[in-house]
């Protein structure tokens, strides 16, 4: 069940949740995604919502949503995906002939950022191929 309080936090017009009584106990946050842990711990340290939003490049409303979503019970830990969803989409869009500039606009990021994501995706693919080959030789 969703905690009753979560229902109000879900409303966009709900008051700012401000500092969360978050947990210094990391084991309680193990099931959360890195961005959720990051937001919760900044909030627990007293960082204001607007400042958290700036640091993680989201709007304050979305930061509040992320905090509210951490209350939703999960049935399993967050999936580790390789390549990441962003990398997969960037590679797919580039393969479709999209430019870094146009992809950047869709991702609300710069073309430079998209080039970095592309480079990282290729690097990751390369290291995975190498490690698979190494495992095969063992």
């Amino acid at each position: 069940m969703i905690p009753e309080a979560a229902g109000t936090l879900f409303q966009p017009s709900a008051p700012r949740v401000g500092r969360v009584e978050a947990t210094k106990n990391w084991s309680l946050m193990e099931h959360l995604r890195p961005i959720e842990r990051c937001v919760l711990s900044m909030s627990a340290e007293g960082v204001e919502i607007d400042e958290i939003a700036k640091r993680i490049r989201k709007t304050p409303d979305r930061v509040e949503s992320i905090i509210a979503w951490t209350d939703i019970p999960r049935s399993r830990p967050a999936t580790r995906r390789s390549p990441s969803p962003v990398e997969s989409r960037v590679l797919a869009l580039l393969a479709d002939g999209e430019t870094h500039e146009r992809i950047g606009r869709r991702f609300r990021r710069s073309a430079r950022y998209i080039r970095q994501v592309e480079g990282l995706a290729h690097y990751r693919q390369g290291t995975e191929i190498l490690s698979r080959n190494r495992d095969g030789m063992d």
Binding site: R33, S65, W69, I72, S75, P77, R108, R109
Partner: protein, 106 residues
């Protein structure tokens, strides 16, 4: 049918069309012909497939804030991840509400 505690919809006015949501949760998000993404209920979770793309006829439902799809419990993690990664910040997750479901007209 899968249990459901949550509902999800997309504010298409804010969707940037990058497709990350479908990359993460293909059972819940789908591309529409105009390059924007919409929510859906898949037959493998709910028995009948409904795409909330404002299309005509059976299997289609309204888009935007009236096009609210139930989230199968097995998809909660992925839907939250999609919403957190969404560059348009336009994936809206809400607690399940039977009245809103009835108002969808599907």
């Amino acid at each position: 049918m899968d249990a459901t505690k949550l509902m999800v919809w997309i504010d298409q006015d804010l969707c940037t069309g990058d497709g990350i949501c479908e990359e993460i949760a293909p059972d819940v998000f789908e591309a529409r012909d105009d390059g924007l993404w919409v929510v859906k209920e898949s037959a493998n979770h709910f028995g009948t497939a409904i795409v909330f793309d404002a299309g005509e006829g059976p299997g289609h439902g309204p888009e935007g804030s009236r096009g609210v799809a139930r989230v199968p419990d097995s998809q909660i993690e992925d839907v939250i991840e999609a919403a957190e990664e969404c560059p348009g910040e336009c994936i809206m997750i809400e607690p399940y509400d039977a009245q809103i479901m009835a108002d969808r007209g599907v």
